[in-house]
């Protein structure tokens, strides 16, 4: 139960700078690089292709068979590689989100996240880099580690760490009980831990981990942005609103290639809620083009959106198109924006209120910027309030955490399989302990004395 990090693990990391460029590279190094990549790659058998070739295919999430990204995979066999180990480089196209997902899958299937400077370290240890560079390798490791520690601390959310600590404590209680039964078989003041009890424990804990993993998608929203569509018939003020939001200079000015590569996404930050604006190009183009295309594109945008901002013209009566859009967005989280409040009112708000909650109707003037404040507040409320904020700050957010959680879940599945195969309790314990260790790696507490301390504080043992 000592530190499980070893120099012989296969390591993985994203080796291109985050958020820049349309292609990212996820790199694997170590003796299991090919088999691990093979588990999530469809296209050809990576283990049988020639070295130093690049292979087209898709990354698939084995859990649900979903295509994560279209990729090019370089197979580089030892020793002619940077680290002189077996290496695989996965070129992703799907932007940072897909790239993160690829990394997370690798971490869930046997790779370990590379320590800072670890590729360079391996390159040196395997004789790839010359002696004069040794000092700078050491400096690099230390410098990167200091920064990475800072980042890791910042990323570990307080709620998440508390939750994981609770789960670990629950496992630890069970482990301690099993250990007491083993090391003090004649001690009768403790119930004998049966595999039935372990079954219950493993099932509960697994469920908790699955719930945590589910929050990963909310964490994803935070990273990826809330997909937001601005829709409305021509000339209601879509571009004015868009320009207003962009103009505020709150925009994150990166053009990230989206999953459908021809669509440009733009990001704005509204009261700490990142909005990924869908098809902003469409909004600009359709303002002076035929309506049909506009509506068609609106429908497409609506399907992709987590949030729809539907703009109506307050100075005109509702048209059929407006009604059609109202119907089309009914199932979505939406805000109805009544624009042009600077002009005389002609829209019948009563009709609107038959299908829309009053708090979701916001009157603004994009021109004079009145009411925009209210709109922003409502978006923030929607995000933190509407999208399950019961654990609003418990977010499993990075690939490492997701990878470790998945592995812990796998260990618990092994526990359940062992129980089914009628294995004795001390063998079941091995996988139970493994899940406890993996969870500890997330929070940074994984030391064996914890178990002994638990043993001797909980039970009165001795001769």
């Amino acid at each position: 139960m000592a530190n499980t990090t070893t120099e012989f693990d296969t390591i993985a990391a994203i080796s291109t700078p985050p958020g820049e460029g349309a292609i990212s590279i996820v790199r694997l190094s170590g003796e299991d690089a090919l088999p691990i990549a093979g588990k999530i790659f469809k296209g050809c058998d990576l283990q049988s292709v020639a070295s130093h070739t690049i292979n087209y295919g898709h990354i698939i999430d084995p859990e649900n068979g979903e295509v994560v990204d279209e990729v090019m995979v370089s197979v580089l066999r030892a020793p002619k590689t940077y680290t002189r180990e077996e290496m695989v480089e996965i070129n992703t196209h799907g932007g940072i989100v897909a790239t993160n997902h690829v990394l997370q899958l690798l971490l869930s299937h046997g790779a370990r996240l590379a320590e800072p400077g670890e590729y360079t370290k391996r390159a040196f240890l395997n004789g790839r880099i010359d002696l004069t560079q040794a000092e700078s390798v050491m400096d690099l490791i230390r410098a990167k580690t200091d920064r990475a520690m800072q980042v890791a601390v910042n990323q570990l959310d307080g709620n998440l760490s508390r939750l994981i600590k609770n789960i670990r404590q629950e496992i630890l209680d069970a482990l301690a009980q099993v250990e007491v039964n083993i090391d003090y078989p004649e001690y009768d003041a403790v119930e004998t831990m049966t595999t039935q009890m372990l079954l219950e424990k493993a099932t509960t804990v697994k469920k908790q981990i699955e719930q945590l993993l589910a929050t990963a998608s909310q964490g994803k929203v935070l990273r990826e942005g809330l997909a937001t569509a601005i829709v409305g018939r021509p000339n209601v003020g879509k571009s004015s609103l868009l320009n207003y939001l962009l103009h505020e200079d709150k925009a994150i000015v990166t053009d990230v290639a989206g999953t459908t590569r021809d669509v440009i996404e733009e990001y704005v930050n509204v009261r700490d809620v990142p909005l990924k604006l869908i098809d902003t190009a469409g909004i600009r183009e359709t303002s002076d083009k035929v309506e049909k295309i506009g509506v068609e594109r609106s429908r497409q945008a609506i399907t992709q959106a987590d949030l729809v901002l539907l703009i109506l013209d307050n100075s005109e009566a509702l048209t059929d198109e407006d009604r059609a859009l109202l119907t089309a967005t009914q199932a979505k989280k939406r805000l109805i924006i009544l624009n042009k409040t600077d002009l005389p009112v002609k829209l019948d708000e009563v009709e609107l209120q038959q299908t829309v909650a009053p708090e979701d109707i916001i009157a603004i003037s994009a021109l004079t910027a009145t009411g925009v404040d209210q709109l922003e507040q409502r978006i923030a409320d929607l995000f933190w309030g509407g999208i399950d904020n019961s654990q609003s700050t418990t977010l499993v957010s990075n690939a490492r955490q997701i990878g470790l959680l998945n592995q812990a879940k796998q260990a618990l599945e092994d526990v359940l399989a062992g129980i089914k195969a009628e294995m004795p309790v001390d063998l079941i314990q091995i996988d139970m302990t493994r899940s406890w260790e993996l969870l500890g790696e997330i929070t940074g507490d994984a030391y064996q004395d914890e178990l002994l301390n638990q043993l001797f504080s909980q039970f009165c043992l001795g001769k």
Binding site: A2, M138, I182, D183, D426, Y447
Partner: protein, 635 residues
């Protein structure tokens, strides 16, 4: 008048102390062909059991088997002298099954003394080592209290709790070794002078009562096993003891606890008299009552001290209360109302060598050719002591013979390896006891496979006779050929096979399966398989059959553990040069720098186990070492 020193004999190896560590150390060194001196304060206390009269139990029982496979004596000795044998944890998996014997403590001592006396190259002598002879940073012998100067190529210290020992019974306190023996008061001072860091530990023992005054009828009987088991792989089943002595179980009660609470001001543990750190897992009864105040009873096992004595050991009742209070406490216990106390329990404080000053060979880092073993290194328990004694004796013997390659047991080799690695890498803040949970590879470190793990190495050391080795090879061959056979013979889904499965409540076969697959089913035993396949060419020993069942049934788990071990072994192969200068390495974190300098790990793997040494520090260390290696090769 001052004692006059004189030059006594020269030896290859000197062992100081003839407890469980010293006895093993001396026998191993002598059996390897070294002229060996075993010096002890009192010849009547060779391999004496001053505390509980038992050997084995979880983890410890496996150590005894490991000692046996390496050619040590403990297993043989207990097999000659037990009065009860019991296999614990039979309802659990094979990795945690544990054999435990109640010993006849007097017979145990006599048998070990007899073995030592009859061992060629081994001299047993009464005497106290007062100081070391040191030349150029190496220990070259010892000086006894009689003035005798003994010189040797290597020296093993196994002084146990005798080092400045102090017995405490309530307000009574006196200088003493275990069981009122002479303490060793000079050696500690000499060690301190040579730069060793010592600390005080504390342990204790319960009172003994007169068995003729115990009312057994109100306690519950704990008999020995009918089923045959011994510690040594050498002991034949035929000598299994039929006439075993039972233990008896009783409990403390609220009255006992009230007596203890009312007298806490007289308890040395709580009045501040005892400074030494006591073990958590071996607390005194007053400790238990205070720490677990909500419990209204604690188990007490009454254990016989031997066949020819009426003294009984009250397990669970370790105490350093005043004698008067101990008596009252005993009389409050069901079955002990009229028990006569024969010896009071006591606490003992003693010096230990901080074990981070040792190498994995148990040689000290401070003085070359000096080894320490047993309770002196901060452990507790006869088995832990014996395991270290054997290891230290082997290494002292190898050193005396001028062998360059030391004998090291890794964490994945043996429980002894786990213990020694824990001690030298992490140190200990309390008397260290082995527990199965300390071993990360416990599925590999089983009591049933200690011979498969270690006999080869015992033979290479010259501690396992050719005759025994041949027997071992035959067992191994039988095991391998039968496993191969089960992996090739198929069982067909015949009516008899499926009738058998249905009767066991299992799903019947549809297609034929390998016999090994068939045996993997939880409800199937080897004997069952044999009904459906031809008999093996030779009749198999029960231990071979046990191995077959374990290796097949738990194959998946064993394989996983072996993969982890393989990784660890590669890390263990990465040596850290002995003369490494940690001050010259830029970039190590301060804590890592201090710890590495203090502990001086021998391999990268050991370094990773030091708390406070992070992966980045390991990375920097690896790069630094590689840099030095390249510089040496090219420069």
């Amino acid at each position: 008048m001052e004692v006059r020193e004189y030059d006594a004999q020269n030896y290859d190896v000197i062992v100081v102390g003839a407890g469980h560590a010293g006895s093993e150390a001396a026998l191993a060194a002598a059996r390897m062909g070294n002229e060996t001196l075993l010096l002890t304060i009192n010849l009547d206390m060779v391999a004496f059991m001053p505390c509980n009269p038992s050997v084995g139990g979880p983890a410890k029982g496996i150590v005894v088997r490991e000692i046996d496979a390496l050619g040590g004596e403990m297993a043989h000795n207990i097999d000659k002298t037990y009065v009860q044998m019991r296999m614990l944890n039979t309802g659990k998996g094979p990795a945690v099954r544990a054999l435990r014997a109640q010993a006849d403590k007097h017979a145990y001592h006599q048998a070990m003394k007899d073995t030592i006396e009859n061992q060629p190259h081994l001299t047993l002598r009464q005497g106290t080592a007062d100081r070391l002879l040191v030349e150029d940073g190496a220990c070259v012998g010892i000086v006894a209290n009689t003035g005798a100067r003994y010189r040797a190529k290597s020296v093993v210290l196994a002084a146990g709790t005798a080092s400045r020992g102090k017995i405490i019974i309530g307000e009574l306190m006196y200088s003493s070794g275990p069981n009122n023996s002479q303490p060793s008061n000079q050696l500690s001072l000499d060690l301190i002078e040579h730069g060793f860091k010592l600390r005080r530990f504390k342990t204790g023992t319960p009172p003994r009562v007169d068995g003729t005054t115990i009312d057994y009828s109100v306690t519950s009987e704990q008999p020995g096993d009918q089923e045959v088991n011994h510690f040594s792989y050498d002991t034949p089943d035929s000598v299994y003891l039929k006439d075993q002595i039972s233990c008896w179980l009783t409990y403390t009660n609220p009255t006992t606890h009230k007596i203890i609470r009312d007298n806490l001001d007289r308890a040395p543990m709580f009045s501040g008299v005892i400074e030494g750190v006591g073990p958590r897992y071996c607390p005194s009864i007053e400790d238990k009552v205070v720490r677990f105040a909500d419990k209204d009873h604690h188990q007490l096992f009454l254990e016989p001290e031997g066949r020819n004595t009426e003294e009984w050991y009250v397990q669970g009742f370790s105490t350093s209360m005043p004698e008067e209070v101990q008596q009252k406490m005993l009389h409050s216990v069901v079955g002990l109302e009229h028990a006569q106390m024969m010896r009071p329990g006591y606490a003992i404080e003693y010096d230990v060598v901080e074990p981070y000053q040792l190498r994995p060979t148990l040689e000290t880092k401070i003085l070359r050719n000096l080894f320490t073993a047993g309770q002196m290194n901060g452990t507790s328990g006869y088995e832990e002591a014996a395991g270290q004694g054997l290891l230290a004796g082997i290494n002292a013997g190898l050193r005396a013979k001028g062998e360059a390659e030391p004998f090291i047991l890794k964490r994945s080799d043996a429980y002894i390896g786990v213990m020694v690695d824990d001690l030298v890498t992490k140190g200990t803040n309390e008397p260290y006891r082995l527990l199965t949970s300390r071993a990360e590879y416990r599925l590999i470190l089983r009591h049933d496979n200690a011979d498969l793990r270690l006999t080869q190495r015992g033979h290479e050391l010259g501690l396992i006779s050719d005759q025994r080795y041949t027997k071992f090879l035959a067992k191994k061959a039988a095991l391998e050929s039968e496993l191969a056979r089960l992996n090739s013979v198929r069982i067909k889904p015949s009516a008899t096979v499926n009738a058998f499965l249905v009767e066991k409540g299992a799903t019947p076969l549809k297609d034929g399966v390998l016999a090994s697959e068939f045996l993997r089913r939880p409800e199937v035993t080897y004997a069952d398989v044999c009904q459906f396949i031809p008999a093996p060419a030779i009749e198999l020993d029960r231990r071979v059959i046990e191995q077959i069942e374990i290796q097949l049934k738990y194959a998946g788990y064993i394989k996983k553990a072996e993969e982890r071990v393989a990784k660890l072994k590669r890390m263990e192969a990465k040596q850290i040069p002995e003369n490494i200068d940690y001050d010259a390495i830029n970039g190590l974190a301060t804590e890592a720098h201090q710890k590495l300098k203090k502990i001086q790990p021998e391999t990268i793997a050991q370094a990773t186990r030091i708390s406070g040494v992070n992966p980045a520090d390991i990375a920097i260390l690896s790069v630094y070492i590689e840099q030095g290696r390249i510089a040496k090769v090219t420069g």
